[in-house]
């Protein structure tokens, strides 16, 4: 998000040039360490990644890399069915996760935003998965999704034995769905907290005024809460989208892209090609495609959600 104009530091207008220069020097000196680190660990790797994408660089090789033009990109779209599956899976995942996780987070936020006894307990319960390592969560859910795991035995019990268990992660038809459910469960608490902070910025008076006007709860939500949550909504939407498109850990721990490519994602595929199979150039090309896709989506989202004034 761009910094609002009012927050940008403005140099004072009337000052002697020498003082300004000295201040500027001090500013540069103070910013330099951070800028240097940013350049070293952010800018340089990104630029290197872009360059590598057009070479056949290998992780380990006695031969120097050479430029291969667009070969890597052609290979991705023409010769690599797993890459195409990765694209589809990544977008399907985002398509489900973004609205459901945002909606569920809002619902939970409204529920825990009431003045009730023990509401803090619920906030904690919903937030616990967020502070649990995603690797741990993935391993636990992997057990729960087994043929004789918790989920199947639960379904078996509630349906009185009518449910015929599936090994969730071993079935190409349901594996991605299983990962979507787990991912939403894991991260929804985080967005609940963000929504909650948004809810608490809405002045109480607005609700009181609406009450006096005899507004129904739905009208209160639609005309007071929702407009008040607009900046939060933009933030939540963009962070969930980017996080969802970057799906990796769950796949790496639970399915390694299988069964039959049904859960492979762009980031997972880039890591598999770039590190496991040592083709840095090709991995970088996949990352570059991923970068451009995320950038485009973020720009479109920002355009769609911008304030119309």
């Amino acid at each position: 998000m761009p910094t609002p104009v009012s927050e940008r530091p403005h140099p004072p207008i009337r000052r002697k040039p020498a003082a300004i220069r000295s201040e500027r020097r001090a500013g540069v000196a103070m910013a330099a360490p951070a800028l240097l680190l940013l350049a070293l660990f952010l800018a340089v790797p990104v630029i290197l990644g872009f360059v590598l994408a057009f070479t056949n660089a290998r992780l380990i090789s006695p031969n120097p890399p050479r430029f291969v033009g667009l070969d890597n990109f052609i290979r991705a779209f023409v010769d690599d069915p797993t890459f195409l599956h990765s694209v589809v899976n990544t977008f399907v995942f985002a398509l489900f996760v973004v609205p459901i996780q945002a909606g569920l987070g809002l619902l939970l936020a409204i529920l825990v935003n009431q003045r009730l006894r023990g509401v803090t307990l619920f906030r904690i319960i919903f937030f616990i998965p967020v502070v649990t390592s995603i690797v741990v969560v993935s391993i636990l859910w992997k057990f729960m999704y087994q043929q004789d795991g918790l989920i199947n035995s639960f379904l078996d019990t509630v349906t009185a034995g009518a449910w015929n268990g599936v090994a969730w992660l071993n079935d190409p038809d349901v594996a991605l769905g299983a990962i979507i459910v787990l991912s939403i469960w894991q991260a929804v608490g985080f967005h609940m907290v963000i929504w909650l902070s948004g809810l608490q910025t809405i002045p109480e008076e607005l609700y009181e005024a609406a009450e006096m006007d005899g507004a129904s709860p739905w009208r209160k939500f639609a005309d007071v809460t929702w407009p008040g949550l607009r900046p939060t909504m933009v933030f939540v939407l963009i962070t969930i989208t980017i996080a969802a498109l970057g799906l990796f850990v769950q796949i790496d721990v639970m399915t390694q892209g299988g069964p039959v490519d049904s859960t492979t994602t762009l980031v997972y595929h880039a890591v598999r090609k770039g590190f496991k199979e040592q083709e840095m150039g090709y991995g970088a090309a996949i990352s570059l495609i991923f970068f451009i896709a995320v950038l485009l989506i973020a720009l479109v989202q920002q355009r769609l959600t911008r304030e119309k004034d």
Partner: protein, 459 residues
């Protein structure tokens, strides 16, 4: 290494004590502060310098006693049994001569390869490194390793699969090898009237299929545990021998330039169709726990697993345990060969010393000690006799014969990491119901593409 580390500590201690002295005299004000800052910067820089030196300690630095240090890296952190044997070898070696001091550093296995690759990229490899057999050609090709050049008499005395050869040169040698077999209970096979196979007369494919069917009918939900719940190198190690027994392979071993025909020919399709049917028929599952527990608990009748699980099985099952050769699918039974081995890095200044140490370490007593602590097959005939389990007539001697008769090393090509990863993915997809021919065709395409983009890996 030890001395360098000690130096580092002193440098830090000095800077620490300097700071505290300054702290006692705050009235001296800003000059003192400046000086203390300068001292700290200097100390940090000195520390960094010492650390850099430390990183390259393996490259032939001379310590205070005038001995040359040889650093070695192992993948054995967290494996006290193995480390104890190394400790013994190293202290014996250091005491036996006056020229070299061997210093050991241990890494956890999961991150070992990454550590070596990273150290190689920054030129910080120690003189001696151990490595998993199949990765050796990749590292040799990348210029990490130099020819081993141990006396021929020594390398000839080792199990063939304990010697790492790439393009007719020996780059690595190991103290042991592992082997796969099929574990079974004699009582179960007898009760189901299944012939007990031998090395001379292993099960044929028909016999094996019939045995699985019989055992399934006898009430075993999945009659055999082949370890399909595992992941990583296990897939290539355990299942490529099945492919080879059918007559296929992971790559064309004549040219090493293509997998075409080897991995997607009719034999390979037949092998993977059989593999797929193991799961569709319910003969094997992919849900259980990694390891051999299902067999120990008698939930499965047969277990396709390695020598490392043999002792536990023996303790639980006792005399009833059978260690059987894998079935012959047409081209003889096959098992994977090649375990962890030692090599000398290309930039090692004191390769002579490293060689001297390795020669010293390939002693039957040490090899037997490794075998006893890790339950692995000793690499020399002499050590077999000394070992607890693998001598003639000992309880695990069967593994020695399996290894000698059937072991086939994984393809000795720098492309192996890609082959292994692609093989695993293809086999898993097939296990999960993917079309066999097209999956294998895609795998071949992936492998060939990689070989091509590496200009044939020098073949």
């Amino acid at each position: 290494m030890t001395t360098d580390l000690a130096l580092t500590t002193t440098a830090w201690q000095r800077s620490g004590s300097g700071a505290s002295r300054d702290g006692e005299a705050p009235r001296k004000g800003s000059t003192m502060k400046h000086r203390s800052l300068a001292a700290m910067v200097a100390a940090t820089a000195a520390g960094a310098l010492v650390l850099t030196g430390c990183g390259q300690a393996g490259q032939g630095s001379v310590n205070a006693d005038g001995k040359t240090e040889l650093t070695m890296w192992t993948h054995s952190a967290g494996n006290p049994g193995e480390i104890a044997v190394y400790d013994q070898i190293i202290s014996d070696y250091n005491a036996s001569q006056d020229d070299y001091v061997v210093v050991r550093e241990d890494f956890p296995q999961e991150s070992y390869n990454d550590s070596v690759v990273a150290a190689a990229a920054s030129g910080d490899l120690p003189c001696l490194i151990d490595m998993d057999g199949p990765i050796m050609p990749n590292w040799a090709w990348s210029g990490y390793l130099q020819e081993l050049k141990l006396p021929e008499k020594l390398t000839d005395s080792l199990l063939p699969t304990a010697v790492g050869t790439y393009q007719d040169k020996i780059y690595s040698a190991g103290y042991w090898d592992a082997a796969l077999s099929i574990f079974a209970r004699k009582s179960v096979l007898d009760a189901n009237r299944i012939r007990i196979p031998s090395i001379e007369e292993p099960w044929t494919r028909e016999e094996f299929d019939a045995a699985l069917e019989t055992l399934k009918a006898a009430g075993y939900d999945t009659p055999i545990d082949i370890g399909a719940e595992d992941q990583g190198e296990w897939w290539s190690y355990a299942y490529s021998p099945i492919l080879q027994s059918f007559g296929g392979d992971q790559i064309d071993r004549d040219s090493y330039l293509t997998a075409e025909g080897a991995l997607n020919g009719p034999e390979a399709v037949e092998a993977f169709t059989w593999f797929q049917e193991l799961f569709t028929q319910g003969y094997a599952g992919n849900a259980g726990t990694i390891g051999n527990q299902e067999f120990v608990d008698d939930q499965v009748a047969l277990s396709y697993t390695g020598v490392w699980n043999a002792q536990a099985a023996l303790e639980e099952v006792g005399d009833d345990l059978l260690i059987l050769p894998p079935p012959d699918f047409g081209h003889g039974p096959k098992i994977g060969g090649g375990s962890w081995q030692w090599g000398i890095t290309a930039d090692c200044v004191d390769a002579e010393g490293a060689r001297d140490y390795l020669e010293f370490s390939f002693n039957d007593d040490y090899i037997a000690a490794f075998s006893d602590s890790q339950i692995v097959i000793p690499a020399t005939a002499g050590a077999e006799g000394l070992s607890e389990h693998f001598g003639e007539g000992d309880d695990l001697h069967a593994f020695v014969e399996l290894s000698q008769q059937f072991a086939l090393a994984r393809p000795a090509t720098p492309a192996y990491p890609v082959i292994s990863s692609t093989f695993e993915k293809a086999a898993k997809d097939i296990m999960n119901g993917a079309d066999v021919q097209s999956t294998l065709d895609n795998a071949v395409k992936d492998i060939d593409q990689n070989i091509e983009s590496n200009d044939g890996y020098g073949f």
